[in-house]
């Protein structure tokens, strides 16, 4: 058995704690660039109460949120979530954000993504994992490619911000690709 389902080389996946983590997670949302890349809805200034309520939401089989913590000092640096988990088609979407800017572009997000893919394929027994990204978010897309995600198409002009239209990129990774890539094995060994 895999005894390090939640532990990677740089980060670990942990529960989000409403009391201890809400303030930090809420503060990340001061960064509009970060929030716009994460969400389709119009961005709003952070509301601690709302973030807290989101973390308090009852667990469901369609929805698996995690905190990302750096292994070195256990600092809370981001979140990753499996959502729209569809167990009869065995598909889910993944969303990820590294809220602490100094931890971006250093492999933390990629490490967390590898962990959640391992969770999706080895614990939830899904067949594939999907994600959407804004086409201009090159750093994220590079990381997704590293994790084995394949480009599956573009929703033309579906992102409209700052007066500029951008495409939304859809990517996906199949269980068999993930197994073949050995991506799971690089996570914790």
């Amino acid at each position: 058995m895999n005894d390090s389902l939640f532990t990677g080389t740089l980060v670990r996946l942990a529960a989000q704690d409403p009391a201890a983590d809400a303030q930090t997670i809420s503060n990340w949302r001061r960064d509009t660039i970060y929030t716009r890349w994460l969400e389709v809805d119009p961005v709003l200034p952070p509301q601690l109460k709302q973030t807290r309520e989101r973390i308090e939401r009852p667990h469901s089989e369609r929805f698996y949120p995690f905190a990302i913590r750096a292994l070195a000092d256990d600092k809370l640096i981001g979140f990753v979530i499996l959502l729209r988990v569809n167990s009869h088609h065995r598909d889910a979407y993944v969303g990820i954000g590294i809220g602490e800017s100094e931890y971006r572009s250093k492999g933390y997000g990629t490490d967390a993504m590898k962990l959640i893919l391992q969770f999706a394929f080895q614990e939830l027994n899904l067949h594939r994992v999907s994600l959407d990204a804004v086409a201009t978010n090159a750093r994220a897309i590079r990381s997704y490619e590293k994790c084995g995600f394949v480009h599956e198409g573009k929703t033309r002009g579906a992102e409209f911000r700052g007066g500029i239209r951008d495409d939304i990129v859809t990517m996906g990774v199949l269980r068999e690709e993930w197994e073949r890539n050995g991506t799971g094995n690089q996570v914790d060994r």
Binding site: G153, T155, A158, F160, G172
Partner: protein, 186 residues
Amino acid sequence: MVLQLFEGEKIRFAAFDAEKDAEVFSKWTHDPEYLRLTEFEPARPLAPFHVKKKIEELEKEAGRDFYFFVIRMKADDRAIGFAHIHWVEWNHGNAHFNMGIGSPNDRRQGLGGEALQMLLRYAFEELNLYRLTGHTFGYNDGAQKFLAKHGLQLEVRRREAIYRDGRYWDALTYGILAEEWTAGNK
């Protein structure tokens, strides 16, 4: 300028009328083929009571961002299907749609095409959307031809995202921009 949004040549768009429509919608849900051509969710027959409830729930969930039309024959007012727009992203000008013609006898007569054109007109000339997105499945050749014929482009192929009858099928996303629809209607 076309003033009539709800009156087509052979069909019209009407509001869902639970008294009249729940019965016939319920009948369609007893046809698994129909359900699998139009829905991601597991096929399940619905009593008129549950049809009504489901549509009420959809309306409640989406609030004002849910535009649901019953397709009726102008000749005899018979309900033949539905068309709706949902998940409206107002800030981006994008929304999703779904439609279906309930009985196989009413298919392949251009009625769905007429309904789709009316839905696109509604999306682009009333809601002023920038684009509209539709979804179908790798096994639904009819829908793929239908969408392409009406100017929608295949944009995304989520490989093996649908598991039915013991095998995986692709989930397909089609899109059309307002400017493409307008150019095609000149």
